[in-house]
């Protein structure tokens, strides 16, 4: 009996090895298709057939020739065919359209409670920062640089004459790069069970409130408001949105629910991360406004308010998916 089994296995193995030229063809096709695109439907069909052939033969080789070079070859060819076959088509334009038109509004709805909470935390810390410095003005040294304090004490905002030092274009890029980094950090810091996000939201809120309290002592609050309004409506909202994305990541780690902690983290990071794409886009606009409009003295207050409110409405339209046209159902 044992001899029969050996003979049978030997015959099976030998018949399997006769198919080596088919494996070589399949592997060559997978490599070729992995490198480029094809419009030939025949190629795609043959690739699917190749995949089945390789899977079938690999299963037999794993049993009959477990330590052979043939197995090594087939494992590699099968993995390559799998990757080639499962490499989804990706077109940047359509992916971006889907993201901003369809996925983003869904993410915003899903993150709505987090957006409310992170906005509330931000507002509370602004109020706290204001109250703190209003009551104890010397504490401004914790939140502002000595240059800023000296400038305000001399009755001038540090933003006055900013464009005499740095061109608008440079200022815009510096600001938008800095804001995007802060926004990304607020999101990523959610990994520390949400505490990092809370810290960044809180610190920024305290700073804003503290600086407002400080400048109001010198009668400069109106000027600072006029400077902040054009870009700040969106910039501060984006801070809350990034905080919401970070908070969702943090909660996924604290309360993973039915899934494993890692799985829950992955789902939350990938889903809420989509909001960051919108945040980055909005911060580019806010950076340009902050570089070209906010420090320019010739813009009257009404135009600043109009720009700030208008851009904020654009943000709402983008987040609700109304900015991009939908195809009408026939």
């Amino acid at each position: 009996m044992g001899g029969d089994d050996t003979l049978r296995e030997r015959a099976l193995a030998a018949s399997l090895m006769k198919r080596a030229s088919l494996w070589r063809d399949a592997d060559a096709r997978a490599r070729r298709l992995a490198r480029g695109r094809t419009d030939d439907a025949g190629d795609a069909t043959r690739m699917a057939d190749d995949y089945r052939l390789l899977a079938h033969d690999l299963a037999r080789v794993r049993t009959l020739l477990p330590d052979s070079r043939a197995r090594e070859y087939l494992e590699a060819a099968y993995a390559r065919a799998h990757a080639t076959l499962h490499h989804g088509a990706w077109r940047a334009g359509s992916a971006l359209l889907t993201l901003f038109r369809d996925e983003l509004p869904r993410v915003v709805v899903a993150l709505a409670p987090y957006i409310v909470w992170s906005s509330a935390i931000f507002v509370l810390t602004v109020v706290a920062g204001y109250a703190l410095v209003h009551r104890y003005p010397e504490l401004i040294a914790l939140f502002a640089s000595p240059d800023l304090i000296a400038s305000v004490e001399h009755g001038r905002l540090w933003t006055a004459g900013l464009l005499n030092v740095v061109p608008s274009s440079v200022l815009s890029v510096q600001i938008l790069a800095n804001n995007i980094v802060v926004s990304l950090v607020a999101y990523c810091a959610g990994f520390f069970f949400g505490l990092g996000t809370l810290y960044i939201l809180g610190l920024n809120g305290l700073m804003l409130g503290a600086v407002f309290a400080f400048v109001s002592r010198y009668g400069l609050a109106g000027q600072l408001l006029a400077f902040i309004v054009p870009h700040g409506c969106v910039e501060l909202s984006v801070m809350c949105l990034s905080g919401a994305a970070g908070a969702a990541v943090g909660e996924a780690l604290i309360r993973p629910g039915q899934a494993t902690r890692m799985e829950s983290f992955r789902v939350a990071a990938l889903s809420s991360g989509k909001l960051l794409a919108a945040c980055a886009l909005l911060l580019v606009g806010a950076g340009l406004i902050e570089g070209f409009v906010s420090p320019a003295p010739h813009f009257p207050l009404w135009s600043r308010i109009a720009i700030g409110a208008g851009y904020w409405l654009v943000m709402l339209a983008l987040l609700s998916g109304r900015l991009l046209p939908r195809r009408r159902a026939r």
């Binding site: 050996t6 296995e9 030997r10 015959a11 193995a13 030998a14 018949s15 399997l16 090895m17 006769k18 080596a20 494996w23 070589r24 592997d27 992995a34 995949y51 089945r52 899977a55 079938h56 690999l58 299963a59 020739l65 330590d67 052979s68 070079r69 043939a70 090594e72 070859y73 590699a76 099968y78 993995a79 390559r80 799998h82 990757a83 499962h86 490499h87 989804g88 990706w90 940047a92 992916a95 993201l99 061109p167 274009s169 440079v170 890029v173 990304l184 999101y187 990523c188 810091a189 990994f191 520390f192 990541v249 890692m262 983290f265 992955r266 990071a269 990938l270 991360g273 989509k274 960051l276």
Partner: protein, 240 residues
């Protein structure tokens, strides 16, 4: 730290795809190569830009930098340094020159190439991985997780796996009474590499193969048998 288990990816065929997960060594090796490449590229751009902009042998920034200095000299190196991984991974299907040199690439949990969103998430989380210095958090995560994942990989659902080295395709051969398929493969391998082997080495290998798979033939192939005779015996054995 144990070796990572292979990642078994389910397939519609019912036969799983086996991928070898890369560990901290391969990751660090790939990162160092990439880091050097992007540093050299960024510095070269800055140096050439500064020399052309200044019009003299100086890399210093002007006292009052203009918009042109910023856009032409400073911005491109920064873009090269910070977008290097994302852009190349997207363009090269989860690979960079460093990863290619280390023989690794990024895959999703289903074995496919990662999409733009996953790659972006993976790279954004470098902000956490690089804390506090020298990728401390990332390296600790890689060392402590079973599949050697850094935080960016956990967030994006990706893994770093070895590219399977492509062995030479196996030769076709006919069934022979004396040899099983493994034996036939060994004999074919020896015959294929016959000319490249040192004469003493190939004689010794031929005698060992004959002793194992054809003891009768091995008895004839004594010390005196020359290389040509041994090769003919191996060819007969393989049925070539």
């Amino acid at each position: 730290m144990s070796r990572a288990p292979d990642l078994a990816v389910d397939s519609v065929t019912g036969i799983d795809v086996s991928l070898a997960v890369a560990g901290p060594g391969a990751r660090s090796y790939a990162f160092l190569i990439d880091w050097n490449i992007r540093l050299i590229l960024a510095f070269t751009w800055y140096a050439l830009g500064a020399l052309l902009f200044n019009g003299r042998l100086s890399l210093a920034a002007p006292a009052t930098p203009s918009g042109r200095w910023f856009v032409l000299v400073l911005l491109p190196p920064a873009a090269i340094y910070f977008l290097y991984h994302y852009v190349l991974e997207l363009a090269m299907g989860g690979r960079t020159p460093g990863k290619r040199a280390a023989g690794v690439h990024i895959v999703t949990r289903d074995g496919g190439a990662p999409g733009a969103g996953a790659l972006l998430t993976r790279n954004v989380f470098r902000l956490v991985d690089c804390l506090p210095v020298c990728y401390g958090v990332g390296l600790a995560a890689v060392a402590l997780t079973r599949e050697h994942l850094r935080v960016g990989d956990m967030a994006a659902g990706t893994l770093l796996v070895y590219e399977r080295a492509a062995p030479a395709p196996p030769a076709e051969f006919r069934a022979q009474g004396k040899l099983d398929a493994t034996g036939l493969e060994i004999v074919h391998e020896l015959l294929a590499r016959w000319a490249a082997l040192e004469p003493e080495a190939r004689l010794a290998l031929a005698r060992r193969v004959l002793a194992r798979y054809a003891p009768g033939e091995a008895a004839d192939a004594g010390e005196g048998s020359d290389g040509e005779a041994l090769r003919r015996r191996l060819e007969r054995l393989a049925g070539a």
